[in-house]
Amino acid sequence: MKITIKAFARFREIFGPEKTEEIAEGSTLAALLDSITAGNQTARTALFEDNGLLRGYVILMKNKKRVNREEIAEIILTDGDEIALYPPVAGG
């Protein structure tokens, strides 16, 4: 299935502004994040601590709704989902 990844600001510079990731049916959001950072240390370090936990400041949006970071291993994606990656916001 195809998942759209949008990335912004610092994450845009690392992941590109928008791309489509092909992953296995029934994959979780955690699996998607593993997939898009596989073999790319800069990308991996941007999203994860050394111990593999999602960094505290990373904001994830699924189909324009904020995701509870505790649930990324349980959230099953479906074809056409859009995931947005936000670094810490700094408006105003």
């Binding site: 949008k6 912004f8 600001a9 400041y57 949006m61 916001v89 700094a90 408006g91 105003g92």
Partner: protein, 129 residues
Amino acid sequence: MIRVTNEDFNINDLIRERKTSEMGAMVSFIGIVRDDGIERIELESHQEIAVEELEAIRDEAFAKFPIKTVDIIHRIGDLTIGDNIVLILVGAGHRREAFEGCEYIIERLKERVPIWKKEYTKDGERWVH
């Protein structure tokens, strides 16, 4: 009016448009590009979500405070020192709620609206956190 835009804003015009006979107080906040040793900044947003989030913050402000009008204009793109970044204009019957509403909105905006700022200095560039 909620807007995330490249355009600058005119506060006089907005105030004139928003005035109603039941309004006794208007408080505005303007955020400006300050010289922290920078040459310019670039503002980026997730446009659609930024507008939705600002609308949600506006609605929260209306629910919390007895205010009459809320306008939020946030600029994106390339800005230089002295340029306007954001305007929040709140109209109310009385001053207290106008101040409280305006402060509430700018605090929430900074916490959760998907807008990012990159500073360019003579030594390089950095994303603001």
